[in-house]
Amino acid sequence: MSSTLDAGGSANTHPSTWKRPPVLVKNNTLRYALIIGAIVYLVLAIGSLEVNWARVYEGLDRGWQFVKGFLQPDFTSRWKDIKIGMIESLTMALTSTVAGVLISIPIGIGAARNLVPPFVYRICRSIIAISRSLQEIIIAILFVAMFGFGPFAGFLTLSFATIGFLSKLLAEDIEVVDKSQLEAVRATGASWWQLVNYAVQPQVAPRLIGLSLYRLDINFRESAVIGIVGAGGIGATLNTAIDRYEYDSAGAILLIIISVVMLAEYLSGYARKWVQ
């Protein structure tokens, strides 16, 4: 840096306009093509909405009823149904999480590349892929068709979904465990079972507990949904309430769901801190 350069003297030779270079797409043609494409898509998409404005206008009043119902929820008139639904949802969430975790542990270990032979790995990964790609509601439809209406079908659905979720995360956790610790335990001549018990379990157990609690929370939320297709739980109660336009009861149910989820989040945060 030399002090012969002078800020004032050369000012007139500097440009007086500046345009920010494009941030995401540097190529001009491509950028304009993308912008035009986006606008055309938006016009077509909004055009496809086919809004029935008269019906929407009519709905404004109902929307207001819902807001009022939400602010002044009615817990009492449908309390019996709400209670049955909540008990079903909560028991479903807990039992399916426990069952799901128990099945997830062997599958998760089997899906960890560093612990098992390739053919076991491939089998376990396919199970995970199937469980993850099918949505809860679709599984619930099939299970209701096979096992009949009620929480048992819901339990199976949620357990199945838990397997995909937990095994995948567990397998990923196991695959990143500290290699040196694996080697150290292997070097002592430990058997495969001892290896899992001494080198893997201590490293992944705290996170497994955290994930199980998180999945418990998800299972509860999902239990409110699968009831719509007949798999038991609070969803069925909610469906009935909304069908009958009983927005104050629906508001009460939604508030209960929200508070359980909030409580679960608070408690699981606390439990995770305690585990570590």
Partner: protein, 273 residues
């Protein structure tokens, strides 16, 4: 792990856990097992075991009815599929547009008031997050009538909480030195947001939006079950008439859509970040 020391080195005794800890652990596990068993009994009280025992036969029956899929039905599915895509995309856009201001109101370092505005913003986030989009759709169909619009709004409402939560965490993690430097130039509050905070969270906004879009594609395929438009509506219609070959085809189409959207979202996220 614990070392209990008695009098000298020769008496060092190693134990995995102390007696009390071990006992507490066992009692904890025992309680969990007992509680699970109790819940199981409560849950299955009304279960008719004859139906469950019959399930393998039902499954075989269902399986035989579901294959082969009715491939010709695909021609009916193109328009609902287009609607599904629109529900997810427009819903994501609405959700992100509302989530950005909500996130700024909820982040500790940008909220105008910690004791009044922040709790409201947090409640909006929790309410939107804890209720599944299918339930929002159920409500909206009842309020504004069946159709694609109800689906768009349902997806939008559900996306607010998800996007706002991740975003406000990103805002709270921004580098304070950069914000302080912009403040020191005499910039107004909105200019500080524009120059100090926004550049830092732009990658998060893109990433979270694409991630949510991917989830929304998945969710919008089934919203039709409650009347909110898209391919789920054909699913509902086929289920009602027990047209299982059509149901199979719809499942296959949904699966393909989900796989494709996951692939697109991974590609886009990779390109942006």
């Amino acid at each position: 792990m614990n070392i209990t020391e008695n009098s000298g080195v020769s008496h060092l005794r190693w134990q995995h856990r102390t007696g009390v800890q071990r006992l507490a652990l066992w009692v904890g596990w025992l309680l969990l097992v007992a509680f699970t068993v109790y819940c199981w009994q409560v849950m299955t009280e009304s279960t008719i075991w004859a139906f469950v025992a019959d399930a393998p036969r039902q499954a075989a029956d269902l399986g035989s009815r579901m294959v082969p899929p009715k491939w010709s039905y695909i021609n009916v599915l193109w328009v609902p599929l287009w609607h599904t895509l629109n529900i997810a995309t427009l819903g994501t856009m609405i959700g992100v547009a509302i989530a950005i201001p909500v996130a700024f109101l909820a982040a500790r370092n940008t909220t105008p008031s910690r004791f009044f505005v922040r709790p409201i913003a947090l409640f909006i986030i929790v309410a939107s997050r804890s209720i599944n989009s299918l339930i929002w759709a159920l409500l909206l169909v009842s309020i504004i009538g069946p159709g694609v619009l109800a689906g768009v709004v349902a997806i939008g409402i559900r996306s607010i909480g998800f996007v706002a939560k991740l975003l406000y965490e990103a805002i709270e993690e921004t580098d304070t030195a950069q914000i302080e430097a912009v403040t020191a130039t005499g910039a107004s509050r909105s200019q500080v947001v524009n120059y100090g905070i926004l550049p830092q969270i732009m990658p998060s906004i893109y990433g979270i939006s694409v991630f949510r879009w991917d989830i929304n594609i998945r969710e919008s395929t089934i919203l039709g079950l409650v009347g909110a438009g898209g391919i789920g509506r054909q699913l509902q219609a086929s289920l009602n008439v027990l047209a299982w070959p059509q149901v199979t085809l719809i499942f296959i189409v949904i699966l393909a859509t989900v796989v494709v959207s996951e692939w697109i979202s991974a590609k886009v996220r990779h390109a942006i970040i």
